[in-house]
């Protein structure tokens, strides 16, 4: 016969003001299996909990019902309290007498009846509770970081500095992402290469970090602490262990290709390093454009020229599988393809209408024009430059609805650079708003104004070429006039969109995406770097547009989360998971089809039936993966699978208790 103890809380006056506590206590005494009832002014307080502990010993209780505030509030507290007694923390049920009774009702008599019903339901449910024990799963103390931009690098460095091995996967031939393409960074105007390349070198040389460039994640299975990840090492046809990066092959290679890194404004060879300070500083061969590999000619110059003989044309993709304890996703962004959306800006037919990254390459010392701002069409220095902001951002019907956050600042930076590098230049910036929400951002913007940048408030409606000039027709909403500027070059500050292929990464990690395809964080304010998949974290722009300071902050935050997991030898799993009664299970597999976490697998097991040894298919639950939703339990017709903590019997008892 179980011995249930019932403890009704006054919660000061929150419950007592409306609910007649004495009557509830009186009625509770007559409920089945109840041997002791007590009320308390503040059950969650130290003395309140102590009173329960004493009662457990004195009355040899084995099940506890607490009538107090919402279980979402103090269930963990009371469970911790029970952990210090010899009762199992899961032999506890809580009746919500505050948020769903005293606070929402006024009629004292009816509220008290409801309170009694709620306690009766809890008492009936607790009668069917079983002792549950958390099981622990081992943690592989190795982290995987997907994406080698500044976010991925920073996260990898922080985790590695904490002493844990990290694999940093990047699909491009070099680390650096978008930041290494930039010239200067706002608001301090320090050179991007000087603050990004050292971090790349650190990551490249860190004993705990294995850098895997030209690689993509192919398959992910398992759960927090035990992710099984297969990475595809794409064939690069150059043996990086032998190569010294001397660069002779790059000089001799005959076939020229437009360089993606230089945003299409310069050429590279089929065998190339994306940029001089690449990490690893070793070339790869782009099979599509290499004449030997795409069968156009019998070339092979690089092989003959290479002093180390590290070119191997028979190289193939390799699949490397490893287990990881936690994953940080830092897949970053790319700029929106404005040419296919904005026909009114020329749709890409005017070479001198370029986007922000192309301008960064022009103004960058290691860029195609060694830092001189020259027009892509004729290489002349543009005397009048128009910068157009919010191209694709804040434009729900043609582009994206959101604001891309960083372009206000880098537009001001571009204006500053134009006025600084080109003497007596004219720079017009068409804007809707100037958002300078950061440290020293506003001062940077006012300094650009003082440099002589002309800010025109309005959108550019049309850009067309006439007599060699790019006519930008727009509107100055402050003066109410239409404006037309004849410019030599136009820079469009286009919207950030998620990097191509992010869908694949998201589905591999079973994390969802918002309707703009940014990766979905667990909670925008309280858990910005976590996802709903335990053990998978986000860092940087993949979670939403942001600038470098925020990106680095998020990277360190996700690293801290990973180190939090690795600091424990083992992870406690949630005990309230599904359990299968293999006697009742007919192996129909309905439950496996329903489980969103693929935690249920059908396995053949040996049985003795009627004296004959047979193997039969039954359902088995992986305790690490199961999150305890119970969708499988409701789908199982004979009730062979049940959810511990919310078993069929428990809920049916609650239903019966309410109605008798």
């Amino acid at each position: 016969m179980s011995r249930t103890g019932v403890f009704i809380c006054h919660c000061g006056t929150n419950i007592a003001a409306v609910v007649d506590i004495a009557k509830v206590v009186e009625k509770a005494k007559s409920m089945p299996n109840v041997v002791y009832v007590e009320d308390n002014k503040y059950t969650c307080s130290e003395p309140g909990q102590q009173a329960i502990k004493d009662a457990i010993v004195k009355h040899k209780l084995d099940r506890i019902v607490i009538g107090s505030c919402s279980p979402r509030m103090h269930e963990p507290t009371f469970r911790k309290m029970l952990a210090s007694t010899e009762i199992n923390p899961y032999m506890l049920e809580i009746a919500n007498l505050r948020e769903q009774c005293s606070w929402v009702h006024t009629d004292r008599e009816k509220a008290t009846d409801k309170a009694i019903d709620l306690v009766r339901m809890a008492v009936a449910k607790v009668a069917k509770n079983h002792a549950l024990f958390t099981s622990s799963i081992p943690v592989t103390k190795r982290a995987l970081v997907v994406g080698g931009g500044i976010a991925g690098i920073q996260a990898a460095l922080d985790i590695a500095d904490a002493g844990y091995p990290v694999t940093l996967v990047e699909r491009e031939p070099s680390l650096g992402g978008k930041m290494v393409m930039l010239d200067k960074t706002f608001p301090t105007m320090d050179c991007s290469a000087c603050i990004c390349t050292p971090k790349m070198v650190d990551a490249g040389q860190h004993p705990n970090i294995t850098v895997m460039t030209s690689c993509e994640v192919e398959k992910v299975s398992g759960y927090i602490g035990n992710f099984e990840v297969t990475i595809r090492q794409k064939a690069t046809y150059v043996d990086h262990s032998v190569c010294t990066g001397c660069g002779i092959c790059e000089l001799k290679c005959p076939s020229k290709v437009t360089s993606e890194f230089e945003q299409g404004m310069a050429q590279r060879r089929a065998i190339y390093k994306p940029f001089p300070q690449a990490v690893p500083a070793k070339p790869v061969i782009d099979a599509a454009n290499c004449r030997k590999l795409n069968g156009k000619a019998k070339c092979g110059i690089c092989q003959t020229q290479c002093p180390q003989g590290c070119i191997n044309f028979e190289d193939e993709d390799k699949l490397i599988t490893n287990t990881y304890g936690a994953i940080v996703i830092a897949t970053g962004y790319e700029l929106i393809d404005w040419k296919s959306i904005y026909g009114e800006y020329g749709g890409g037919q005017y070479p001198d209408v370029i986007n922000g990254l192309q301008f960064e390459r022009l103004v960058n010392a290691s860029g195609p024009t060694e830092g001189h701002i020259l027009r892509p069409s004729d290489g002349k220095e543009p005397k009048s430059v128009v910068i157009v902001k919010c191209v694709g951002s804040r434009d729900p019907n043609k582009g994206k609805g959101y604001c891309s956050r960083a372009c206000c600042m880098y537009a001001a930076k571009h204006a500053h650079q134009v006025l600084e590098k080109i003497d007596n230049a004219q720079c017009y910036v068409f804007y809707i708003d100037v958002r300078t929400a950061g440290k020293a951002y506003e001062e940077f913007y006012t300094r650009t104004l003082e440099d002589g940048a002309i800010y025109v408030r309005g959108r550019v409606s049309k850009i067309y070429e006439e007599d060699g000039k790019l006519i930008c027709k727009g509107e100055d909403t402050l003066s109410g006039q239409t404006v037309s500027v004849a410019a030599d070059m136009v820079v469009l500050e286009t919207a950030m969109v998620p990097a191509a292929g992010v869908e694949k990464v998201a589905t591999l990690m079973t994390i969802s995406r918002d309707n703009d395809n940014w990766l979905q964080e667990a909670h925008p304010k309280l858990r910005p770097v976590e996802t709903h998949t335990a053990g998978v974290f986000l860092a940087g722009v993949c979670q939403g547009p942001k600038d470098i300071p925020d990106t680095v902050a998020q990277a360190s935050a996700s690293a801290a989360k990973v180190c939090g997991i690795f600091s424990k030898a083992e992870l406690q799993t949630n005990p309230m998971i599904s359990k299968v009664d293999i006697e009742k299970c007919s192996g129909c597999g309905d439950c496996a089809g329903i489980c969103p976490y693929k935690a249920i697998s059908m396995q053949d097991m040996e049985f003795i039936e009627h004296g004959k040894k047979i193997t039969r298919r039954v359902s088995t639950v992986n305790s690490g993966l199961c999150q305890g939703c119970g969708a499988c339990v409701a789908g199982c017709r004979p009730g062979a699978i049940d959810l511990l903590g919310f078993t069929n019997a428990q809920i049916l008892e609650e239903v019966d208790a309410l109605c008798l």
Partner: protein, 285 residues
């Protein structure tokens, strides 16, 4: 009719003599001309007990559940409804396709022994030819479309809630909870039916109206998305309860809500409650 019977017996003798099949489940004659019942023929000499006449009504697939781990293949005579039952059992992983040898026989409908009229379930049958078989005796018959598949259901839906309650109350008052409907149904293939489980509290064991109603509704809900409309539950019910009206109601709603659906035509299409579409009908906003 007799030449199919000859072929059936010849095929049965070959299968039994070659040892490919352990035994054959078919129909045999009872004492009276209008009585046929399932029989199990093991000995090649006894194949002449197998018959194919107007009274072969009972579905045979469910008998495979009594011998779940056969040494040799089991031979079964399958008409349209039996073959769909076999597909259902395979889809529910209660039967392996390689464990059975299906003797397909196109069926143009059987007679009800009491009334000698065409049996109700055969009149309403939409798939007379077997959908799966290893050998086919005779040539396929012409399928009869069933436009009035849900007529009876619509008649009931036209009533007011109280009239419907009274209609079903009278029906359930007669139910004696013999569970014949469950035992004959190929969709009811759990190892231990929820009604047989002790003290879980799903449903009481008393035989009163309320418990009978709960049993009827729960069973119809369980088999709703798997029912192959073979009509056996209604045929075997000793109290003559109109059980197909329950199953057909579930099928009517599944068709309207989730798209045209007939159970057991193949082993790929999943039962409606086993999966979902993100753009399902939305009524709870």
């Amino acid at each position: 009719m007799s030449d199919i019977q000859q072929e059936l017996r010849k095929t049965a003798r070959e299968l039994l003599e070659s040892g490919e099949v352990g035994y054959i489940i078919g129909w045999g004659k009872g004492r009276f001309a209008n009585q046929t019942h399932p029989i199990f023929v093991k000995d090649p000499a006894k194949v002449d007990e197998l018959v194919w006449d107007d009274y072969c009504l009972s579905t045979l697939a469910k008998y495979t559940q009594d011998d779940k781990y056969p040494e040799k293949k089991i031979g079964i005579c399958v008409r349209g409804c039996d073959s769909r039952a076999v597909n259902r059992l395979i889809q529910d992983h209660q039967l392996k396709r390689e464990d059975v040898y299906l003797i397909g026989i196109p069926c143009s409908g059987k007679l009800d022994p009491e009334t000698n009229e065409p049996a109700k379930k055969c009149v309403e049958c939409a798939h007379r030819n077997p959908v799966v078989y290893d050998v086919l005796l005779g040539s396929p018959v012409e399928e009869v479309p069933q436009p009035e598949r849900f007529k009876e259901v619509e008649e009931l839906e036209a009533m007011t809630p109280d009239e419907r309650y009274n209609y079903w109350a009278d029906v359930y008052d007669k139910c004696i909870r013999c569970y014949a409907c469950r035992n004959v149904c190929p969709a009811c293939n759990c190892r231990e039916c929820y009604t047989d489980q002790y003290r879980v509290g799903w449903q009481g064991k008393q035989n009163n109206r309320a418990e009978n109603q709960i049993f009827g509704i729960t069973r119809a809900y369980h088999v709703g998305d798997r029912c192959i409309e073979c009509g056996e539950c209604q045929r075997v019910c000793p109290m003559g309860l109109p059980l197909m009206k329950l199953n057909r109601k579930m099928l009517k709603d599944i068709n309207n809500l989730f798209g045209a659906y007939e159970a057991g035509l193949d082993t790929e299409t999943k039962p409606a409650l086993g999966h979902y579409e993100t753009n399902d009908v939305e009524e709870f906003m």
